[in-house]
Amino acid sequence: MKQSRRCGQVLLVVIVCGVIVCGLTALAADKEHGTLVRDAALYVTPGSTSEKIGRVERGRDLIVLEHIELAATAAEQTSVAEKAPWFKVFVTLPQGTAVREMTGWLPALGVVTFSTPNGDRIIYGEAVDSENQAEQRGGRKGAADDAMRLYYRVGDLFPNSPLAAEATWRSADIRWQLEKNQIRSRPSQRDLSPDARGHVDEQWMKEIIKRYPHTRWADLAAYDMIDNRLCGEWKGLAACPEKESDIYERYAREHAQSPKAAEALYYAAWRQAVLADIYRINSDGTRSALARKKARALAQEIASMPTDGDWQPRAAVLIFKLERNIPLYGPGPE
């Protein structure tokens, strides 16, 4: 009896909480979402003279709660931002390792919402701009993260845009490269096997494959995910290059239309050539000959592929080295 009353109370709390969450979600869903294409300060009240409570970077998700037109004073007329309306927004900002949900005001300048004409192109263009900044030597700090968020927002705010798939893929790829660099920069990670080493989170790549199956984006996502299965160091043993060659070859067979198919086949061939050297050093003539034969066959396959770019000349030099027994792995010059 007592237990059943407790159950009833718990049920009531769950229902009330559910109603509140649903209400908030519905409220958020009703509200207009947007993002920034330039950094902006978040203020307690509308107007740049009020107290700043945070900084919102490009690409953060904003929920626009309220609009206001400021009655601009003569002095304020000089500021472009002051002439524009102000938005009350709800935003989630990172603080150290935690996140903080904040509500505040920012100038509407630079806010792009799903009702902005050509909003998808504007955000995508700013993402390309940020990605470009990230690649410059003296580029803006945090530009890669900006690009990652902005690309994500294109797919998030404009799922039906023709740019959505490419943007979502680019966002996932930037995230992947950043995380991979972080993991690989740890010296302790290099010696570990792929199973023991830290993995890049596959969630975003799997999402691409699920959302855009059998497209070039799914092919590219599957290719990135190979990174998680590669060894850090081979240590002169055949096991790793053997496994990696199989992985690359399987990718090339399963994704024949992928822009990465020739590259994958080249890496499969190159690893077979390395295996031939490893087996030769270990005086295992039979296996060495088999690996050499396999390397040649794979490299020759690239020559017959309809591919532009550098993979065919790279395959040609690999075949040449195999024919002349020039080692690819091990000691340098004779």
Partner: protein, 320 residues
Amino acid sequence: MTTLKHRTHPGLLTALLLVAAAAFAAGPEKEHATPIRETNLSASPDANAEKLMPLERGRDLIVLDRSTPAGGQAWLKVAVPPVASGDKTGRPSTDTQKQKEEMTGWVPATVAVAASTMNADLIIYGEAVNSENEAEQRRGRRSAAEDALRLYQRVAEFFPTSSVGGEALWRHADIRWQLDRARSKGPADEQLLQAVIKKYPGTKWADLAAFDLLDNKMCPAWNGLAECPQKESLAYEQYAREHPQSSKFAEALYNAAWRQAVIADIFRGNAQRASSTAAHDRALALAQEVTSQLSPDWKTRAGDLIYKLQQNIPVYGVQQ
């Protein structure tokens, strides 16, 4: 009846004989080769022979003789010309720098690709790509960029009419350009890029070389003045007008538009409203032109610029 007489001028005959004799004395043109792997120049065709000097990938070798000792590996006797002081091949190694005269010695035939080797153009080009790729890796081989530089140069020299000849010369010039720019603050040497334009006029490589050359027209800093971005904007627009087929067309036009937007901000900051409006309108017109291009990245970047111009969001200076 008309008799046709074949008459030969005695002076001409003498001249022809002299030319033939000179050609015979010079012998047939020597074959060139290049190593696709780091190796050594040896005093004799023997793996244990004295090493005269190291040979990097892409060094020019003139084949003088071939030798295959019984049961051993094949060797090439080669002459290695010194790297001339004005050579743009790349930073030579210390040993190479010491080489003042042509050296003669032996190299293992396995690592040298002769011009007569089947698919030699693709093989040397492929090794150049490998080296370029190495140079881009964080832990890539030291001096890989210089290797790529030399290997691309060899493709362009040995096989100027190959399908990869133009691309190789362009890549050679571009790597040299990027290395020069990274190493010195002054204007980079234009010689190699000008050679690409001269040798392959009206091609994509000439367009790309001309785009690289714009770097020399850029100011090191604008210092908040309109003069430099104005000059740069004109340089980019002129490039776009003169190279409408270039793969850099949209980029050049976008760069011209973006600089006009910057100029609008600079003039606005100086309270020069009329000049600011003129630059603003010019930026808009140029950016609109980019949006009609096929390249999605430049198209969307232009769209973003147009939005900022329409909203009067500053693109230059201190942001709020």
